[in-house]
């Protein structure tokens, strides 16, 4: 990968990370079982999935870009899927509520009626099938984006330093880019979303533009620092 392609890799990867946050269902910790989604902040959830992806991707560094992106995506998908399953077990057997969407009458994938399971006064609870699938799709995007950023940064800095150091520094810079692009969509979502079936999904273009600008600025600096200056 030549340096200019790596720069575009950072921009595309960073933007993918930003958009992925809109897909991952989360509710604020204070709203646990009062709204649909995993009860934590979108940034933390997306960052957790992204870091899983980065670690898995780093293991496949010598096996080519395609395998790296695939392993990053699979690790992130696994992380979100397992978190959703464990959260649903907690909701069902700990809190005593069924996974239900507060915004859809019927689940888009299973067709199950949602309203009959909805506790009055809440906006849903747990992770219903539509939110689960949305979360897994989002995690795949985040994993691919994170791995792409990591590989691109690694390509830019690796000519001048040892491989182990390049991996560590590329990893920490990729985490930085991941966090910036994870926080901006969290502000658009104001802390909670059901995933791609949520009404707030329409605000994705705002995230897209802001993450595109941010990734471009960050990418240009990393490129300039490691290649130009």
């Amino acid at each position: 990968m030549d340096p200019i392609t790596a720069l575009f890799g950072i921009i595309i990867g960073g933007t993918l990370v930003g958009v992925c946050v809109h897909f991952i269902p989360c509710s604020a910790v204070g709203a646990m079982a009062a709204t649909t989604g995993i009860a934590t902040g979108p940034t933390m959830l997306a960052s957790g999935a992204g870091m899983m992806g980065l670690m898995a991707a780093a293991y496949n560094l010598d096996n080519g870009l395609a395998l790296m992106l695939a392993s990053g995506a699979i690790a992130s998908m696994l992380m979100i899927a397992l978190t959703s399953v464990v959260a649903n077990i907690t909701y069902a057997f700990g809190v005593g509520v069924a996974p239900t969407s507060g915004q859809s009458e019927y689940d888009r994938f299973t067709g199950f009626e949602q309203k009959q399971c909805l506790t009055p006064g809440t906006d849903g609870h747990g992770i219903p099938t539509q939110s689960f699938i949305s979360g897994v799709i989002g995690a795949a995007m985040g994993g691919i984006g994170g791995a792409l950023v990591f590989y691109s940064v690694y390509t830019l800095i690796s000519p001048s330093i040892a491989q182990a150091t390049a991996i560590a520094i590329a990893g920490i810079i990729a985490v930085g880019i991941y966090i910036i692009n994870g926080v901006l969509p969290a502000y658009t979502l104001v802390g909670k979303t059901e995933g791609m079936t949520d009404k707030k999904f329409k605000t994705t273009p705002k995230t897209l533009y802001s993450c595109l600008i941010m990734s471009t600025v960050s990418g240009i600096f990393v490129y300039a620092a490691s290649v130009v200056i």
């Binding site: 902040g41 960052s47 810079i173 926080v183 969290a186 502000y187 960050s218």
Partner: protein
């Protein structure tokens, strides 16, 4: 243990300082800290003292933004600042011209400012002067990261062979020291002077942690200097912070729970 109730109109424990003033102090102190460390590495205790205002400046910027209610918790904005600071500080390692550390700090300010512009103009968060506050937070994080990367690695070769293992720790410790003063103080009675006292206590605690790590990378005298000055700072600032709490709270009762 109990103290005399001071009532609802308890005076704040200090004077409000604007974040911009704190940032100016932090820039001057950090520049001196980096210069001192580069010129005389054995005067590292001065550099440690002079980096504490950068923690306070970052914590004050977190407070300014978070007090508007950003909807995703205080941690996210602090992590954003630390993320920008980290990208800039670690990328500036590869710049092969004099004063590359300062280029990293300036870049952190610029990238932070653009992030704030995106948040305010595109996402329309409408938080007054958010651009400047995120820029200050990012530049403060970059100053701290830059100094500790310099301390752990006297030369670039050492950084590129041994020190890389602790880079994630520098990132997360800096982020927590910036986030937590406001997160730990927030509530109905929160005020900036007390939050800043906690910021200084956490700054010295963080430098104490870095002092322990430096035992593995620097000479013993440097590490002992960092540990002593940080330990002393932690005792002093924690005492000041606890006094401020005692002065401002209505009543403190010992519950018997340790």
């Amino acid at each position: 243990m109990s103290v005399q109730p001071t009532g609802e109109t308890a005076a704040h424990s200090g004077k409000y300082t604007t974040t911009v003033s704190l940032f100016v102090i932090a820039i001057v102190c950090s520049t001196v800290a980096l210069t001192i460390f580069n010129a005389a590495p054995h005067a590292v205790f001065l550099s440690i003292i002079l980096i504490w205002p950068a923690f306070a400046s970052g914590a004050s910027a977190v407070k300014d933004i978070s007090s508007y209610g950003i909807g995703t918790g205080v941690a996210s904005i602090g992590m954003l600042g630390a993320g920008v600071g980290t990208i800039s500080a670690f990328s500036s390692i590869f710049i092969d011209i004099p004063f590359s550390a300062f280029i990293g700090i300036i870049a952190a300010f610029v990238i932070g400012f653009v992030t704030g512009l995106c948040a305010n103009k595109i996402i329309k968060m409408k938080i007054p002067r958010m651009e400047l506050k995120i820029a200050i937070m990012s530049a403060s994080a970059a100053m701290i990261t830059t100094l500790f990367v310099s301390i752990f690695s006297n030369n670039i070769d050492m950084l590129l062979t041994d020190v890389y293992i602790v880079l994630p720790l520098i990132f997360i410790a800096t982020a927590l020291a910036i986030i937590h003063p406001y997160n730990g103080s927030m509530g109905a009675g929160e005020n900036q002077p007390r939050t800043l006292k906690l910021a200084f206590a956490e700054a010295s605690l963080t430098t104490l942690l870095f002092g322990l790590i430096s035992l593995a990378y620097t000479d013993t005298i440097t590490s002992i200097e960092i540990l002593l000055v940080s330990g002393l700072g932690f005792v002093i600032f924690t005492t000041i912070f606890l006094r401020a709490i005692n002065a401002e709270i209505y009543k403190l009762e010992w519950s018997g729970v340790v």
